[in-house]
Amino acid sequence: MVIVGAGECGTRAAFALREAGYEGSVTLVGKEPHLPYERPPLSKPSNGKVTPKLIANEERFVEADITLLTDDPVTSIDAEAMSVRLQSGRTIPYAKLLLATGTQPRALPVEGGEHAVTFRTLEDARAIFKAAETADRAVLIGAGLIGLELASALRDRDIGVTVVEVADRALGRAVPAELAEIIVAKHRDKGVTFRFGTGIDKVEPSSVTLTDGTKVEGDLIIAAIGVIPDTALAETAGLEVGNGIKVDDRLRTSVPDIFAAGDCASALHPFYGKHMRFESWRNAQDQGEAAARNMVGGDNAFARVPWFWSDQYDLGLQITGMPDPSHRVITRQLPNNARLLFHLADDGRLMATSGIGTGNAVAKDIRLAEMLIEKGLSPDADALSDTSVNLKKLLRG
């Protein structure tokens, strides 16, 4: 078994192969020089230090008899010969191959875009928080989750922050407007300046010129305008791609014996009835595990709905499912200004639930809502809005 990509997904898959009882060889190939580490903590360094949190230490790889190759990216796949070729020239044969190649940050496609740093890897995090030690003002391009988490981390260091967003609101892709407004209000309270509805004309080493002609000064300029699935390798093997590597509900690609999972995979999802690509930590884990089981003889569809969280200042946001503006929204007001939004389809089926509160105030309910969604339930709207009704009761009927 060969796994390409030693992030959360690939690493989880390697261990899951062993947990499934597979006793043959397992090789995990990563392009970064480090032991596999968790990415979510990178935007939340404690005490100003970016310290990698390892997914597993060296000892655990040895114990599980997983061969970990770092700093040696796979450069091509030969699907006929069933082997992969590494940058070092080494060739490794496979019986089954898993592509967990993840994503790359989107580069800013404007003049001087290279002056805006991007954020994905441990090196990126170290560079940004090192620069933050001496920076006075930061310009963050993109008001998505990564951009706003960084804004929060930089404000905690008392660095001035301007967030520039081409859309007319923050978090437009993943978060309902009502919750995005709460988050933006918190950022404003903390002193962040927002410039919505304006693009970038050009970037210079210490300023950004907006499309409306204004110039925003900053000694730290970060572009967080989304990510692109890393499909280059898949394309060398002739795999079908389209917003990610196309896989079926078993996470099999269009080429036999090659699977794909995690951020790079666009999987046929039974719940949504179409191909979906998710970019969250838990999906990376879950799909990695599911692919591993199917690689060693399992035959299970991957059907989990997505779930993610984001912490900004003292606010914790959690969302499960895919909220859509077409949904009917039922609000449940919780103590201490925490709030849940239940997103219902036309037929009353619960499709998504989003929530925000201090710390992890909404975590329990979001987790229960996820189970309600996965069971395909259509809970009574009055029960959903009634704080005295425990969601657990709705789940168990």
Binding site: R12, F15, P41, K53, I55, W281, R282, Q285, W309, G359, N360, A361, A363, K364, R367, L368, N390, K392
Partner: protein
């Protein structure tokens, strides 16, 4: 010798739920099981120091609110990745309507 600490009233915890209890610079999680027994574990997940009391209790399992790591709260056993280290557990005792936890 066990040092028994009066932690809370029985009714402070809903059935099949958990609350946080801080004592002497440490944090604990106290659980009420579906069959009305009380249990106590360390308060923080062994993975990333998240308060477990914000997590969901289903039957005898507590799930971390951040990473979905799971523990059996009766014995502290780690049940699902990413957690691999077990939780410390503590004795409990009921006196009238009070829940006591045994430390030290």
């Amino acid at each position: 010798m066990t040092n028994w600490i009066d932690a809370c009233a029985k009714d402070d915890i809903d059935e099949e739920d958990v609350i946080r209890f801080d004592h002497d610079g440490k944090t604990y999680a106290i659980y009420r099981s579906p069959d009305d027994e009380f249990f106590c574990t360390d308060g923080l997940c062994t993975h990333e120091q998240v308060h477990l009391a914000d997590g969901l209790v289903m039957d005898y399992v507590i799930e971390c609110p951040k990473h979905n790591g799971q523990f059996d709260y009766r014995n502290g056993e780690a049940k699902r990745a990413p957690v691999c280290n077990h939780l410390g557990t503590y004795q409990t005792r009921i006196e009238g309507d009070r829940v006591l936890i045994g430390l030290g």
